[in-house]
């Protein structure tokens, strides 16, 4: 089937939990807006759940032209098969050209299942998406002219432990699908009063057996939102004292970021346990991670090495953290951080 790319909408999955949208749908709509405008098509959010219609207002204000709503008690909590089934039916019915999901636990569960059922490509954990042409050289060795496909979604992601950046395309299978890292895309400014078209769909779940029953959900409640932060400033034992840790807060404030710590910093009482980053703490992958006085135990690195950019500040030039850093500053954080704050504010 020849795909008419000029008509299909750009979709983002507006994941919600307990009737609350996280920052992720807003981020996806920010990027989705750009893609849809480039292609000259509508941007739609896919909203699934039970009693979640009021959230559509937030999605319009975040940039969606349209909200495809699937409201069904069976979709109250996320269950892979129920969401997958409803999502696939929706895609078959509406024919979007691009579908993007957050690379959250939910998105990384749902998106592969949807792609598998539809037999289409999916690129995980993208850090950038753009529209461009793809030159297919596969026939070229037999003397054929390379084929140029316009308006293709270029899905850009780090791979191989962050050692390469790959651009992936799936120009022949429809729709083009990707998951996008949390905290990487920029949401639009909220546009109060902006409205759009709400389209209600049937879940088509009648008679579909869902093999999973959710017995209990225990949410981790925390006022510290490391996962959702684009920028994280983290400290380790090398910070030296709780007082010095305040410097990290100052830097984070200047950048609009959050403060995290290594296990050593938590154990030494420099920062709260909720701020712990690493294998036994939270895993983060912000756009920018500034590591201050952290030597870089493997367990800590596991929780932050997927950050898009890493700046390491350490007095020990042989600290393992420099192995995964993109920028390294060998020096005293008490000297370097004030210089950074000055440069940012200047």
């Amino acid at each position: 089937m020849e795909i008419d790319r000029t008509k299909g909408e750009v979709w983002v999955f507006a994941e919600q939990e307990d009737g609350v949208l996280s920052d992720v749908p807003r981020e996806l709509l920010g990027k989705g807006r750009e893609l849809a405008d480039t292609l000259g098509v509508k941007l739609a959010a896919v909203l699934m759940g039970a009693g979640v219609e009021p959230l559509s207002k937030e999605l319009f204000e975040a940039g969606a032209d349209k909200v495809h709503l699937v409201d069904d008690p069976a979709l109250k909590v996320f269950r892979s098969k129920a969401y997958r089934h409803a999502f696939v039916e929706l895609i078959k019915e509406c024919g979007p050209q691009i579908v993007i999901f957050g690379a959250t636990h939910m998105g990384r569960d749902l998106a592969p299942a949807v792609a598998s059922q539809l037999g289409c490509g999916l690129t995980a954990d993208c850090t950038e998406l753009q529209i461009g042409e793809f030159t297919d050289k596969r026939g070229a060795c037999q003397g054929a002219e390379p084929k140029v496909v316009p308006g293709v979604l270029q899905q850009i992601r780090p791979a191989f432990g962050g050692n390469i950046i790959a651009t992936i395309v799936n120009p022949y299978n429809w729709p083009q699908m990707a998951t996008v890292r949390e905290g990487v895309m920029k949401p639009l400014e909220r546009m109060p009063g902006r409205t759009g078209e709400l389209v209600k769909h049937d879940s088509k779940l009648d008679g579909v057996e869902i093999p999973v029953e959710v017995l209990e959900i225990v949410r981790r409640h925390s006022s510290i939102n490391l996962k959702g932060s684009r920028i994280i400033v983290a400290g380790g034992a090398g910070v030296g004292s709780k007082e010095n840790f305040k410097l990290l807060h100052d830097l984070a404030d200047a950048l609009g970021g959050a403060v995290g710590g290594s296990r050593a910093a938590v154990d030494l009482g420099y920062c709260e346990h909720e701020r712990q980053i690493g294998q036994t703490g939270v895993t983060v992958r912000p756009a920018l991670f500034i590591s201050c006085g952290i030597s870089g135990a493997v367990q800590h690195l596991a929780g932050m090495q997927d950050s898009a950019k890493i700046i390491a500040i350490n007095t020990d030039k042989d600290a393992p953290v420099f192995k995964i850093a993109h920028y390294g500053i060998v020096g005293d954080l008490n000297v370097v951080i004030p210089k950074m704050i000055k440069a940012i504010k200047g």
Binding site: S80, H105, F160, G161, N163, A343
Partner: protein, 289 residues
């Protein structure tokens, strides 16, 4: 919550999908080719870390409730090394799907081939690592489940069995969820499940030289022999148009090596000028500001 330990008669047939991966933590300059692609041969090949947790999950189910554990890998014959390791840790049987037709498979084609292999063993439970460190996609597990119509449960941290159901704890990012899952089911396992048990010395002696043997021949003979069953795409009924390049919708359009990788970071002087230049660079590429 009370511990459920009821299981069922005959236990559970478990399949674990494991992968041999290049150790991406050890990527250095030598491992990058001039064209920006990776020279996989220059990297040590290891047992994908979370696949070890998946194997532990299967072995723990067998230990508590009885049944079998079959390890499956897809790849080149060199991947026998991790299959031997699985046997040494307690897996009952090991199989390698190895076929030129599988070369160039993306996650969709890989999950198709593995789903064909998994079906051959008619498991009750399938365990996969959450993701492999060479691609970090976390797609293959959920896609295998979809293809064989198994319940799919991602980010498994704990499992107990109760008849034809599994009672599981999974990480949902914003918290922890307890599910009752009807078998058959596939689970993707994270490191939080717990470390793989150590090698068993007697099994090490038995399996240290285990090598490939065509699966049919292996199964027709003494199945307690120290061998690894070899399967081709034909053997598992995987049709060529859904394998390898032919079955892969995604194309790699471009690859750029990250020049700063492997300790080769950009050095910033701890001076006013150095720090300012760094901040300017981050503003220019929209990382900050």
């Amino acid at each position: 919550m009370k511990t459920l330990n009821t299981g069922r008669e005959g236990g559970y047939n478990c399949v674990v999908c494991i992968k041999q991966v290049p150790d991406t933590k050890k990527v250095s300059g030598d491992a990058m080719k001039a064209d920006g692609t990776i020279n996989r041969a220059a990297l040590p090949a290891i047992f994908n870390p979370e696949d070890k947790n998946a194997l532990e999950a299967a072995l723990s189910v067998k230990e508590r409730y009885g049944g079998t554990v079959t390890a499956i890998a897809m790849g080149l014959p060199a991947a026998c090394e991790i299959l031997r390791e699985a046997l040494m840790c307690g897996a009952d049987r090991a199989y390698l799907v190895t076929d030129r037709k599988a070369a160039g498979s993306d996650t969709l084609a890989t999950s198709y081939i593995l789903s064909c292999a998994v079906k051959r063993f008619k498991p009750d439970l399938v365990f996969c690592g959450r993701q492999a460190i060479d691609g970090d996609t976390a797609q293959t597990g959920p896609q295998i489940a979809e293809k064989i119509d198994f319940a799919a449960v991602t980010y498994l941290e704990k499992i107990d069995m109760e008849g034809d159901y599994a009672i599981v704890t999974r990480d949902i990012g914003t918290g922890v969820e307890t599910d009752k899952v009807k078998l058959p089911a596939l689970f993707t396992v994270t490191e939080k499940f717990g470390e793989l048990r150590p090698l068993n010395v007697r099994r090490v002696m038995k399996y240290k030289n285990a090598d490939l043997k065509p699966a049919a021949e292996f199964e027709a003979g003494d199945t307690s022999a120290a061998a690894i069953g070899q399967l081709s795409c034909d053997d598992i009924g995987a049709v060529p148009e859904r394998c390898g390049f032919a079955g892969s919708p995604t194309n790699v359009a471009k690859i750029v090596s990250v020049v700063l990788a492997g300790g080769d970071y950009k050095e910033v002087e701890p001076t006013d000028e150095g720090v300012k230049a760094l901040v300017d660079e981050l503003v220019a590429d929209h990382t900050i500001g």
